[in-house]
Point group: C2
Chain length 228, copies 2
Amino acid sequence: MTTGAKAIVLLSGGLDSATVLAIASRDFACHAISFNYSQRHCSELQAASRLAQIAGASQQIIQLDEGVMTGSALTDATIEVPETGPGEGIPVTYVPARNTVFLAHALAVAEVQGSSDIFIGVNAVDYSGYPDCRPDYIAAFEHMARLATKAGVEGGKLKIHAPLINMSKAEIISTGIQLGVDYALTVSCYQADSQGRACGLCDSCRLRRNGFAAASVPDPTVYRQPQI
Amino acid sequence: MTTGAKAIVLLSGGLDSATVLAIASRDFACHAISFNYSQRHCSELQAASRLAQIAGASQQIIQLDEGVMTGSALTDATIEVPETGPGEGIPVTYVPARNTVFLAHALAVAEVQGSSDIFIGVNAVDYSGYPDCRPDYIAAFEHMARLATKAGVEGGKLKIHAPLINMSKAEIISTGIQLGVDYALTVSCYQADSQGRACGLCDSCRLRRNGFAAASVPDPTVYRQPQI
Protein backbone atom coordinates (compact mmCIF):
# COMPACT_ATOMS: atom_id res chain seq x y z
CA MET A 1 0.00 0.00 0.00
CA THR A 2 1.28 3.45 -0.83
CA THR A 3 1.04 6.44 1.46
CA GLY A 4 -0.65 8.38 -1.31
CA ALA A 5 2.36 10.66 -1.66
CA LYS A 6 3.48 11.15 -5.23
CA ALA A 7 6.90 10.33 -6.61
CA ILE A 8 8.42 11.25 -9.97
CA VAL A 9 10.24 8.27 -11.49
CA LEU A 10 12.70 8.55 -14.37
CA LEU A 11 11.70 5.63 -16.58
CA SER A 12 13.84 4.91 -19.63
CA GLY A 13 12.25 1.54 -20.30
CA GLY A 14 15.41 -0.39 -19.44
CA LEU A 15 16.07 -3.00 -16.79
CA ASP A 16 17.27 -0.60 -14.09
CA SER A 17 14.49 1.98 -14.31
CA ALA A 18 11.82 -0.76 -14.49
CA THR A 19 13.17 -2.05 -11.18
CA VAL A 20 13.19 1.43 -9.68
CA LEU A 21 9.57 1.92 -10.69
CA ALA A 22 8.67 -1.31 -8.89
CA ILE A 23 10.58 -0.19 -5.79
CA ALA A 24 9.02 3.29 -5.77
CA SER A 25 5.53 1.86 -6.31
CA ARG A 26 5.70 0.12 -2.92
CA ASP A 27 5.53 3.47 -1.14
CA PHE A 28 4.36 6.08 -3.61
CA ALA A 29 1.82 6.87 -6.28
CA CYS A 30 4.19 7.11 -9.21
CA HIS A 31 4.34 9.51 -12.14
CA ALA A 32 6.84 8.22 -14.67
CA ILE A 33 8.71 10.55 -16.99
CA SER A 34 10.53 9.36 -20.08
CA PHE A 35 12.55 11.35 -22.61
CA ASN A 36 12.67 11.42 -26.35
CA TYR A 37 16.16 12.77 -26.97
CA SER A 38 16.56 11.41 -30.48
CA GLN A 39 18.19 8.33 -28.99
CA ARG A 40 19.17 5.54 -31.33
CA HIS A 41 17.21 3.04 -29.25
CA CYS A 42 13.90 4.89 -29.21
CA SER A 43 12.02 1.60 -28.93
CA GLU A 44 12.84 1.91 -25.22
CA LEU A 45 10.08 4.53 -25.06
CA GLN A 46 7.47 1.97 -26.11
CA ALA A 47 8.83 -0.30 -23.40
CA ALA A 48 8.57 2.55 -20.88
CA SER A 49 4.92 3.12 -21.74
CA ARG A 50 4.09 -0.56 -21.30
CA LEU A 51 5.94 -0.73 -18.00
CA ALA A 52 4.20 2.37 -16.65
CA GLN A 53 0.81 1.05 -17.66
CA ILE A 54 1.38 -2.31 -15.96
CA ALA A 55 2.66 -0.60 -12.81
CA GLY A 56 -0.41 1.64 -12.69
CA ALA A 57 1.75 4.75 -13.00
CA SER A 58 0.86 7.84 -14.98
CA GLN A 59 3.45 8.63 -17.64
CA GLN A 60 4.67 11.68 -19.50
CA ILE A 61 7.05 11.53 -22.46
CA ILE A 62 9.12 14.70 -22.58
CA GLN A 63 10.48 15.88 -25.90
CA LEU A 64 14.00 17.29 -25.73
CA ASP A 65 15.51 19.54 -28.36
CA GLU A 66 17.57 17.34 -30.66
CA GLY A 67 20.31 19.95 -31.00
CA VAL A 68 21.54 19.70 -27.41
CA MET A 69 22.80 16.28 -26.30
CA THR A 70 24.78 15.56 -29.44
CA GLY A 71 28.18 14.00 -30.05
CA SER A 72 27.36 10.63 -28.48
CA ALA A 73 27.10 7.23 -30.12
CA LEU A 74 23.54 7.14 -28.73
CA THR A 75 22.47 10.36 -30.46
CA ASP A 76 24.68 10.54 -33.54
CA ALA A 77 24.16 7.85 -36.17
CA THR A 78 27.67 8.42 -37.54
CA ILE A 79 29.32 7.27 -34.28
CA GLU A 80 29.24 3.50 -33.94
CA VAL A 81 28.18 1.79 -30.73
CA PRO A 82 31.15 -0.32 -29.51
CA GLU A 83 30.50 -4.06 -29.74
CA THR A 84 33.74 -5.50 -28.37
CA GLY A 85 33.16 -5.00 -24.65
CA PRO A 86 33.94 -2.18 -22.22
CA GLY A 87 37.21 -0.26 -22.72
CA GLU A 88 39.07 2.22 -20.53
CA GLY A 89 37.61 5.57 -19.48
CA ILE A 90 34.29 7.13 -20.40
CA PRO A 91 32.81 5.42 -23.48
CA VAL A 92 31.47 7.07 -26.64
CA THR A 93 27.97 6.11 -25.54
CA TYR A 94 28.21 8.77 -22.83
CA VAL A 95 25.58 11.44 -23.52
CA PRO A 96 26.62 14.96 -22.42
CA ALA A 97 24.92 16.01 -19.19
CA ARG A 98 22.10 13.54 -19.77
CA ASN A 99 21.19 12.79 -16.17
CA THR A 100 21.45 16.48 -15.26
CA VAL A 101 19.02 17.41 -18.03
CA PHE A 102 16.71 14.53 -17.03
CA LEU A 103 16.80 15.36 -13.31
CA ALA A 104 16.28 19.07 -13.99
CA HIS A 105 13.07 18.22 -15.83
CA ALA A 106 12.08 15.84 -13.04
CA LEU A 107 12.61 18.65 -10.56
CA ALA A 108 10.28 20.94 -12.51
CA VAL A 109 7.63 18.22 -12.79
CA ALA A 110 7.98 17.41 -9.07
CA GLU A 111 7.53 21.04 -8.14
CA VAL A 112 4.46 21.43 -10.36
CA GLN A 113 2.91 18.24 -9.01
CA GLY A 114 3.75 18.92 -5.37
CA SER A 115 6.08 15.93 -5.06
CA SER A 116 9.21 15.87 -2.89
CA ASP A 117 10.52 12.53 -4.16
CA ILE A 118 12.37 11.78 -7.38
CA PHE A 119 13.59 8.28 -8.25
CA ILE A 120 16.43 7.51 -10.66
CA GLY A 121 17.94 4.16 -11.61
CA VAL A 122 21.62 5.08 -11.62
CA ASN A 123 24.03 2.41 -10.57
CA ALA A 124 27.71 2.75 -9.74
CA VAL A 125 28.68 -0.94 -9.69
CA ASP A 126 27.88 -2.72 -12.95
CA TYR A 127 27.69 0.40 -15.06
CA SER A 128 29.30 1.92 -18.12
CA GLY A 129 31.62 4.43 -16.45
CA TYR A 130 29.40 7.48 -16.81
CA PRO A 131 30.26 10.35 -14.40
CA ASP A 132 26.61 11.19 -13.76
CA CYS A 133 25.92 7.79 -12.19
CA ARG A 134 28.10 8.24 -9.10
CA PRO A 135 26.86 8.74 -5.52
CA ASP A 136 28.70 12.08 -5.18
CA TYR A 137 26.91 13.39 -8.23
CA ILE A 138 23.47 12.39 -6.94
CA ALA A 139 24.17 13.98 -3.53
CA ALA A 140 25.33 17.19 -5.22
CA PHE A 141 22.23 17.32 -7.41
CA GLU A 142 19.99 16.87 -4.37
CA HIS A 143 21.76 19.68 -2.52
CA MET A 144 21.41 21.99 -5.52
CA ALA A 145 17.77 21.04 -6.04
CA ARG A 146 16.85 21.95 -2.48
CA LEU A 147 18.24 25.44 -3.03
CA ALA A 148 16.67 25.78 -6.48
CA THR A 149 13.02 25.48 -5.74
CA LYS A 150 10.13 27.19 -4.05
CA ALA A 151 9.46 24.01 -2.08
CA GLY A 152 13.05 23.99 -0.84
CA VAL A 153 12.87 27.62 0.29
CA GLU A 154 9.61 26.91 2.10
CA GLY A 155 11.19 24.06 4.08
CA GLY A 156 10.42 21.09 1.86
CA LYS A 157 12.97 18.31 1.78
CA LEU A 158 13.26 17.24 -1.81
CA LYS A 159 14.92 13.84 -2.03
CA ILE A 160 16.65 12.15 -4.96
CA HIS A 161 16.23 8.40 -4.42
CA ALA A 162 18.80 6.20 -6.17
CA PRO A 163 17.96 2.81 -4.69
CA LEU A 164 20.16 0.83 -7.11
CA ILE A 165 23.29 2.89 -6.71
CA ASN A 166 25.25 0.32 -4.70
CA MET A 167 23.69 -2.83 -6.13
CA SER A 168 25.23 -5.24 -8.64
CA LYS A 169 23.23 -5.98 -11.78
CA ALA A 170 22.44 -9.42 -10.34
CA GLU A 171 21.09 -7.86 -7.14
CA ILE A 172 18.97 -5.44 -9.18
CA ILE A 173 17.48 -8.34 -11.16
CA SER A 174 16.82 -10.42 -8.04
CA THR A 175 15.08 -7.45 -6.41
CA GLY A 176 12.95 -6.84 -9.49
CA ILE A 177 11.97 -10.50 -9.79
CA GLN A 178 10.77 -10.45 -6.16
CA LEU A 179 8.68 -7.37 -6.98
CA GLY A 180 7.16 -8.98 -10.07
CA VAL A 181 8.97 -7.02 -12.76
CA ASP A 182 8.59 -8.63 -16.19
CA TYR A 183 12.04 -8.05 -17.66
CA ALA A 184 10.88 -9.38 -21.01
CA LEU A 185 9.18 -6.02 -21.44
CA THR A 186 12.32 -3.97 -20.86
CA VAL A 187 14.73 -2.69 -23.52
CA SER A 188 18.34 -2.06 -22.46
CA CYS A 189 20.22 -2.41 -25.74
CA TYR A 190 21.90 0.77 -27.03
CA GLN A 191 20.96 -0.18 -30.56
CA ALA A 192 17.72 -2.05 -30.09
CA ASP A 193 15.74 -2.27 -33.29
CA SER A 194 12.26 -0.85 -33.77
CA GLN A 195 10.77 -3.97 -32.19
CA GLY A 196 13.03 -3.64 -29.15
CA ARG A 197 15.23 -6.61 -30.12
CA ALA A 198 18.73 -6.47 -28.66
CA CYS A 199 22.11 -6.71 -30.37
CA GLY A 200 23.70 -8.75 -27.58
CA LEU A 201 27.05 -7.05 -28.19
CA CYS A 202 26.96 -3.50 -26.80
CA ASP A 203 28.09 -2.71 -23.25
CA SER A 204 24.52 -2.46 -22.04
CA CYS A 205 23.63 -5.90 -23.46
CA ARG A 206 26.76 -7.42 -21.93
CA LEU A 207 26.06 -5.99 -18.46
CA ARG A 208 22.47 -7.15 -18.68
CA ARG A 209 23.23 -10.66 -19.86
CA ASN A 210 25.96 -11.11 -17.25
CA GLY A 211 23.48 -9.90 -14.62
CA PHE A 212 20.90 -12.53 -15.49
CA ALA A 213 23.59 -15.22 -15.44
CA ALA A 214 24.93 -14.06 -12.06
CA ALA A 215 21.41 -13.93 -10.63
CA SER A 216 20.69 -17.42 -11.99
CA VAL A 217 17.62 -16.06 -13.72
CA PRO A 218 16.79 -17.10 -17.32
CA ASP A 219 17.51 -14.20 -19.67
CA PRO A 220 14.18 -13.15 -21.24
CA THR A 221 15.80 -10.71 -23.67
CA VAL A 222 14.80 -11.06 -27.30
CA TYR A 223 17.99 -10.87 -29.36
CA ARG A 224 18.24 -10.16 -33.06
CA GLN A 225 20.53 -13.16 -33.56
CA PRO A 226 21.30 -16.29 -31.55
CA GLN A 227 23.68 -15.62 -28.62
CA ILE A 228 26.77 -17.76 -28.16
CA MET B 1 40.24 40.97 -27.51
CA THR B 2 39.05 37.53 -26.54
CA THR B 3 41.33 34.64 -25.69
CA GLY B 4 39.53 32.54 -28.25
CA ALA B 5 38.07 30.33 -25.54
CA LYS B 6 34.36 29.71 -25.95
CA ALA B 7 31.69 30.58 -23.40
CA ILE B 8 28.05 29.54 -23.33
CA VAL B 9 25.82 32.51 -22.41
CA LEU B 10 22.20 32.16 -21.31
CA LEU B 11 20.50 34.94 -23.26
CA SER B 12 16.83 35.60 -22.57
CA GLY B 13 16.76 38.90 -24.44
CA GLY B 14 16.20 40.95 -21.29
CA LEU B 15 18.30 43.68 -19.74
CA ASP B 16 20.33 41.45 -17.44
CA SER B 17 21.32 38.79 -19.96
CA ALA B 18 22.17 41.44 -22.59
CA THR B 19 24.60 42.92 -20.07
CA VAL B 20 26.07 39.50 -19.31
CA LEU B 21 26.63 38.87 -23.01
CA ALA B 22 28.56 42.14 -23.24
CA ILE B 23 30.64 41.22 -20.18
CA ALA B 24 31.38 37.71 -21.45
CA SER B 25 32.27 39.01 -24.93
CA ARG B 26 35.25 40.90 -23.50
CA ASP B 27 37.04 37.63 -22.76
CA PHE B 28 35.34 34.87 -24.72
CA ALA B 29 33.95 33.89 -28.08
CA CYS B 30 30.31 33.58 -27.08
CA HIS B 31 27.66 31.06 -28.01
CA ALA B 32 24.28 32.32 -26.80
CA ILE B 33 21.49 29.93 -25.93
CA SER B 34 17.89 31.02 -25.57
CA PHE B 35 14.83 28.99 -24.65
CA ASN B 36 11.36 28.74 -26.05
CA TYR B 37 9.41 27.45 -23.04
CA SER B 38 6.00 28.68 -24.15
CA GLN B 39 6.61 31.87 -22.23
CA ARG B 40 3.99 34.57 -22.39
CA HIS B 41 6.61 37.12 -23.46
CA CYS B 42 8.05 35.17 -26.38
CA SER B 43 8.97 38.41 -28.14
CA GLU B 44 12.03 38.31 -25.87
CA LEU B 45 13.37 35.61 -28.21
CA GLN B 46 13.40 38.03 -31.13
CA ALA B 47 15.26 40.47 -28.90
CA ALA B 48 17.74 37.75 -27.99
CA SER B 49 18.46 37.02 -31.65
CA ARG B 50 19.08 40.69 -32.40
CA LEU B 51 21.35 41.07 -29.38
CA ALA B 52 23.37 37.97 -30.28
CA GLN B 53 23.79 39.15 -33.86
CA ILE B 54 25.01 42.60 -32.80
CA ALA B 55 27.41 41.08 -30.28
CA GLY B 56 28.83 38.76 -32.93
CA ALA B 57 27.78 35.70 -30.95
CA SER B 58 26.42 32.50 -32.41
CA GLN B 59 22.96 31.66 -31.10
CA GLN B 60 20.85 28.56 -30.58
CA ILE B 61 17.19 28.66 -29.61
CA ILE B 62 16.33 25.54 -27.62
CA GLN B 63 12.78 24.25 -27.67
CA LEU B 64 11.55 22.95 -24.33
CA ASP B 65 8.59 20.63 -23.90
CA GLU B 66 5.61 22.78 -23.05
CA GLY B 67 4.27 20.24 -20.57
CA VAL B 68 7.03 20.70 -18.00
CA MET B 69 7.45 24.20 -16.55
CA THR B 70 3.76 24.83 -16.04
CA GLY B 71 1.77 26.46 -13.25
CA SER B 72 3.44 29.88 -13.51
CA ALA B 73 1.95 33.19 -14.58
CA LEU B 74 4.65 33.23 -17.27
CA THR B 75 3.62 29.91 -18.80
CA ASP B 76 -0.10 29.66 -18.01
CA ALA B 77 -2.37 32.21 -19.67
CA THR B 78 -5.03 31.68 -16.99
CA ILE B 79 -2.76 33.01 -14.21
CA GLU B 80 -2.52 36.80 -14.31
CA VAL B 81 0.78 38.63 -14.07
CA PRO B 82 0.63 40.88 -10.95
CA GLU B 83 0.58 44.57 -11.81
CA THR B 84 0.49 46.18 -8.36
CA GLY B 85 4.13 45.81 -7.38
CA PRO B 86 6.12 43.13 -5.54
CA GLY B 87 4.40 41.31 -2.67
CA GLU B 88 5.72 38.98 0.03
CA GLY B 89 7.35 35.64 -0.74
CA ILE B 90 7.92 33.95 -4.07
CA PRO B 91 5.66 35.46 -6.75
CA VAL B 92 3.34 33.64 -9.17
CA THR B 93 5.73 34.54 -11.97
CA TYR B 94 8.20 32.01 -10.54
CA VAL B 95 8.71 29.24 -13.11
CA PRO B 96 9.40 25.81 -11.56
CA ALA B 97 13.08 24.87 -11.75
CA ARG B 98 13.62 27.21 -14.69
CA ASN B 99 17.24 28.10 -14.11
CA THR B 100 18.07 24.47 -13.32
CA VAL B 101 16.57 23.34 -16.63
CA PHE B 102 18.32 26.19 -18.47
CA LEU B 103 21.70 25.55 -16.85
CA ALA B 104 21.39 21.79 -17.42
CA HIS B 105 21.02 22.45 -21.14
CA ALA B 106 23.89 24.94 -21.02
CA LEU B 107 26.02 22.25 -19.41
CA ALA B 108 25.24 19.81 -22.22
CA VAL B 109 25.98 22.44 -24.88
CA ALA B 110 29.21 23.42 -23.09
CA GLU B 111 30.35 19.83 -22.98
CA VAL B 112 29.58 19.24 -26.65
CA GLN B 113 31.36 22.44 -27.68
CA GLY B 114 34.36 21.95 -25.40
CA SER B 115 33.61 25.02 -23.28
CA SER B 116 34.31 25.28 -19.55
CA ASP B 117 32.53 28.60 -19.02
CA ILE B 118 28.81 29.24 -18.65
CA PHE B 119 27.42 32.74 -18.05
CA ILE B 120 24.05 33.49 -16.46
CA GLY B 121 22.48 36.85 -15.60
CA VAL B 122 21.01 36.02 -12.21
CA ASN B 123 20.90 38.81 -9.70
CA ALA B 124 20.18 38.61 -5.98
CA VAL B 125 19.73 42.32 -5.22
CA ASP B 126 17.03 43.93 -7.39
CA TYR B 127 15.28 40.70 -8.27
CA SER B 128 11.89 39.08 -7.96
CA GLY B 129 12.53 36.73 -5.04
CA TYR B 130 13.19 33.61 -7.09
CA PRO B 131 15.12 30.89 -5.21
CA ASP B 132 17.21 29.97 -8.23
CA CYS B 133 18.82 33.41 -8.40
CA ARG B 134 20.78 33.17 -5.14
CA PRO B 135 24.57 32.80 -4.79
CA ASP B 136 24.24 29.54 -2.82
CA TYR B 137 22.21 28.03 -5.63
CA ILE B 138 24.75 29.00 -8.30
CA ALA B 139 27.62 27.59 -6.21
CA ALA B 140 25.70 24.33 -5.70
CA PHE B 141 24.97 24.01 -9.41
CA GLU B 142 28.64 24.53 -10.25
CA HIS B 143 29.70 21.86 -7.76
CA MET B 144 27.16 19.41 -9.18
CA ALA B 145 28.14 20.23 -12.77
CA ARG B 146 31.78 19.45 -12.14
CA LEU B 147 30.82 15.98 -10.92
CA ALA B 148 28.33 15.44 -13.74
CA THR B 149 30.46 15.66 -16.79
CA LYS B 150 33.22 13.93 -18.67
CA ALA B 151 35.20 17.19 -18.64
CA GLY B 152 34.88 17.38 -14.86
CA VAL B 153 36.10 13.81 -14.39
CA GLU B 154 39.03 14.49 -16.68
CA GLY B 155 40.14 17.47 -14.58
CA GLY B 156 38.34 20.32 -16.31
CA LYS B 157 37.13 23.15 -14.11
CA LEU B 158 33.71 24.08 -15.35
CA LYS B 159 32.73 27.50 -14.06
CA ILE B 160 29.32 29.12 -13.74
CA HIS B 161 29.86 32.87 -14.07
CA ALA B 162 27.16 35.06 -12.53
CA PRO B 163 28.75 38.52 -12.86
CA LEU B 164 25.58 40.43 -11.93
CA ILE B 165 24.76 38.48 -8.81
CA ASN B 166 25.70 41.19 -6.31
CA MET B 167 24.95 44.23 -8.46
CA SER B 168 21.97 46.57 -8.18
CA LYS B 169 19.88 47.11 -11.31
CA ALA B 170 21.40 50.58 -11.62
CA GLU B 171 24.92 49.13 -11.48
CA ILE B 172 23.99 46.57 -14.12
CA ILE B 173 22.71 49.31 -16.41
CA SER B 174 25.76 51.52 -15.86
CA THR B 175 28.04 48.57 -16.65
CA GLY B 176 26.10 47.77 -19.81
CA ILE B 177 26.13 51.38 -21.01
CA GLN B 178 29.92 51.46 -20.64
CA LEU B 179 30.12 48.28 -22.72
CA GLY B 180 27.86 49.69 -25.42
CA VAL B 181 24.72 47.66 -24.78
CA ASP B 182 21.70 49.10 -26.58
CA TYR B 183 18.96 48.54 -24.00
CA ALA B 184 16.33 49.71 -26.48
CA LEU B 185 16.74 46.27 -28.06
CA THR B 186 16.05 44.35 -24.84
CA VAL B 187 12.69 43.01 -23.65
CA SER B 188 12.21 42.55 -19.91
CA CYS B 189 8.43 42.79 -19.53
CA TYR B 190 6.67 39.62 -18.37
CA GLN B 191 3.79 40.37 -20.69
CA ALA B 192 5.49 42.16 -23.55
CA ASP B 193 3.35 42.18 -26.68
CA SER B 194 4.38 40.64 -29.98
CA GLN B 195 6.33 43.80 -30.84
CA GLY B 196 8.20 43.66 -27.53
CA ARG B 197 6.33 46.65 -26.04
CA ALA B 198 6.26 46.67 -22.25
CA CYS B 199 3.32 46.94 -19.85
CA GLY B 200 5.16 49.15 -17.37
CA LEU B 201 3.31 47.53 -14.48
CA CYS B 202 4.73 44.03 -13.84
CA ASP B 203 7.53 43.45 -11.33
CA SER B 204 10.09 43.15 -14.10
CA CYS B 205 9.04 46.48 -15.66
CA ARG B 206 9.14 48.17 -12.25
CA LEU B 207 12.63 46.87 -11.42
CA ARG B 208 13.85 47.92 -14.85
CA ARG B 209 12.35 51.40 -14.77
CA ASN B 210 13.62 52.04 -11.25
CA GLY B 211 17.05 50.88 -12.41
CA PHE B 212 17.22 53.40 -15.24
CA ALA B 213 16.09 56.16 -12.86
CA ALA B 214 18.67 55.19 -10.22
CA ALA B 215 21.41 55.03 -12.86
CA SER B 216 20.35 58.45 -14.23
CA VAL B 217 20.05 56.90 -17.67
CA PRO B 218 17.08 57.75 -19.92
CA ASP B 219 14.73 54.76 -20.08
CA PRO B 220 14.68 53.57 -23.72
CA THR B 221 11.89 51.05 -23.11
CA VAL B 222 8.95 51.19 -25.50
CA TYR B 223 5.78 51.00 -23.41
CA ARG B 224 2.32 50.14 -24.62
CA GLN B 225 0.88 53.17 -22.89
CA PRO B 226 2.31 56.40 -21.51
CA GLN B 227 4.02 55.95 -18.12
CA ILE B 228 3.13 58.19 -15.19
